[in-house]
Symmetry: C2
Subunit: 363 residues, 2 copies
């Protein structure tokens, strides 16, 4: 069976070299005589794996020493609750920017928990076709934090800048752009990212948190959501999602082997330029996102005819270009071209787009 | 590299046949052209996997139709908070039986969340060497639920009976004995189990909940811990721990292929009888657990001399009998002999125990 080009928004493609290595050592890892899946998380063998994963992500992202790195159970949605539960007690209120569905969910989760949260900016009225432009004066000066979603998977937008929040810690959901390019970690109070887009299989979340922000957890909150407890126990207060962490380690190794995040960024830029370049060169497909907010990871486009959109995704699937259907809430098409998508995959997609346009003239 | 016998308490051994199948289809699953790790959880291929996992665990455990089956993120520790958050509002209070460390943690977690919980019975004063004998009159009649840990991994005890709680729903943490033998699900309100002992890699929890218990969730609680939300969305409110669910499906298939839980129980009984039989036949090793509370999954024993215990675990490790050291909180030795441990592994252990006793006479 030949591998397809999988444009799924997440879970999504993993590097073939990583999958092959994982398969080769699945039954017996190194000299351990067992699978990584079977290892006690307290064993020296597993301890070496999780420490290596942390060392590699620290190198890759150049994470400053005053930040803790946590590998936690669950996905970003779990962090939507963890963020206010860990931070809001600092001042009692927090500000959110709503630039798409997930940032909206994060905001609603904080509301559901009964907190004083304010949506200070949103591009909802523009169908989230760009990210808001925010300035420091828009935030409540006594906000405990400002929450953003840095890359919006569903709409295909990304902040072209890091919002200036002054002394207010900036908290960013980076699930769909983590380790796709260099980012200045020191500009953020907290960065979190579900694994299943650019890092590992679903079931693990990376949390990078500035140490001085660990002291504000609510007393009456689930222990498993407490960053401080997890930080004090090296992410092993209980059994961590061991295998997903191992897979993340392999992915970090793969990127380091390529040359790090600058190289990764260049590769991603080249793929995105090819696809956006084609989109800008024709008028059969429409790319709804404003140019300055375009995501390098998730590229959305429509034909303008929902029936044609449907046919597009279906026919693309038949030639090995999978999961191009847009999110069920927005329709159209979406090509998620994360780190693991090869350039050849985007070339194949553009070739298919040309062919489809030629064969399916609009009425 | 030869595989070892891994007596780890969790994560722990998985069936070799399951690991080999997973390795063989890791890069390309069936006709999908991708790894299960890469599949969109909304794809027809993955939908078939999670539905099959549910169907198989329903068959295996003969789960009645009025129970929901959930595959959730995280481990049992996450459920320590989820249990009161989902159930206690039924009456406002709950009763706990503390028979070991994890049931103690579950109790403390409910206390931490500020709830009126009562420890109605504990065997702490006996170093948890047996499980409490409880009767219906010991519970508060208006308790929302009674919580137990059915098999105590650290101490090696298990309830030889299902506590009679009358009309009060019984909630059981079955992390370390799930699918090791048949159990009458209808006697429980909720059964939950972390995957990493008898089911799958760490990072997934099975929750089996009676439908009428889904209506008591707190309003101000993390959405990701709400059983009802997960039940209404077929465990896919957000991205589930897809790969661990797939692995669980392979494990369920493996047990069904052997003949189901009666056969599994007979195999486990035979292994446990061999080990306990040897322990009862000699006086070099002491098995601290009272006979009626002995666990079929976790067998604890000591030499009576901490230095010899240390030597035992170390020398056993050198001959491929791994992770026999007891839990750091109790010392001694523990052999976890879950479903995936072959009979030959227990034979090898007993042979080693005899040899070690002969070669290391006590002073």
């Amino acid at each position: 069976m030949q591998r397809v080009y999988n444009f799924s928004a997440g879970p999504s493609m993993l590097p073939l070299a990583v999958l092959e290595k994982a398969a080769a050592e699945l039954v017996c890892y190194g000299e351990s005589g067992m699978s990584v899946m079977e290892m006690s998380h307290r064993s020296p063998e597993y301890d070496a794996i999780i420490k290596d994963a942390e060392a590699k992500i620290r190198t890759l992202m150049q994470i400053p020493d005053n930040y803790k790195v946590l590998f936690l159970q669950g996905g970003a949605s779990t962090q939507f609750a963890a963020v206010p539960l860990n931070l809001i007690r600092r001042t009692g209120k927090a500000d959110y920017i709503v630039s798409g569905q997930f940032s909206g969910k994060a905001f609603k989760e904080a509301q559901k928990l009964g907190y004083d949260v304010k949506c200070v900016a949103t591009t909802k009225d523009d169908n989230f076709d760009h990210v808001p432009v925010v300035t420091r004066d828009m935030f409540r000066p006594d906000a405990a934090y400002v929450h953003i979603c840095f890359n919006n998977t569903i709409y295909g937008t990304k902040y072209p800048y890091i919002p200036d929040t002054g002394d207010i810690p900036l908290v960013a959901d980076m699930s769909s752009c983590i380790i796709s390019e260099p980012v200045d970690v020191s500009k953020f109070g907290v960065i979190y990212a579900g694994a299943q887009k650019n890092m590992a299989p679903a079931g693990m979340t990376l949390v990078i948190v500035r140490e001085d922000l660990l002291d504000y957890a609510e007393e009456k909150m689930p222990t498993m959501l407490e960053w401080k407890t997890m930080a004090e126990n090296g992410s092993m207060y209980n059994t961590p999602p061991c295998y997903a962490i191992y897979m993340a380690k392999l992915v970090y190794e793969w990127i380091l082997g390529l040359g790090g995040l600058e190289v990764m960024q260049a590769m991603n830029r080249k793929k995105a330029d090819l696809l956006y370049g084609y989109l800008d060169s024709q008028d059969y497909y429409i790319a709804p996102v404003k140019k300055e907010s375009r995501s390098m990871m998730n590229v959305t486009f429509v034909t303008g005819d929902p029936e044609l959109d449907k046919k597009f995704a279906s026919e693309a699937g038949k030639v090995g270009l999978k999961s191009l259907k847009g999110h069920r809430s927005v329709g159209g098409m979406r090509a998620s071209i994360y780190n693991a998508m090869p350039y050849e995959g985007v070339e194949a997609l553009v070739a298919f787009m040309k062919k489809f346009a030629a064969e399916n003239p609009k009425a």
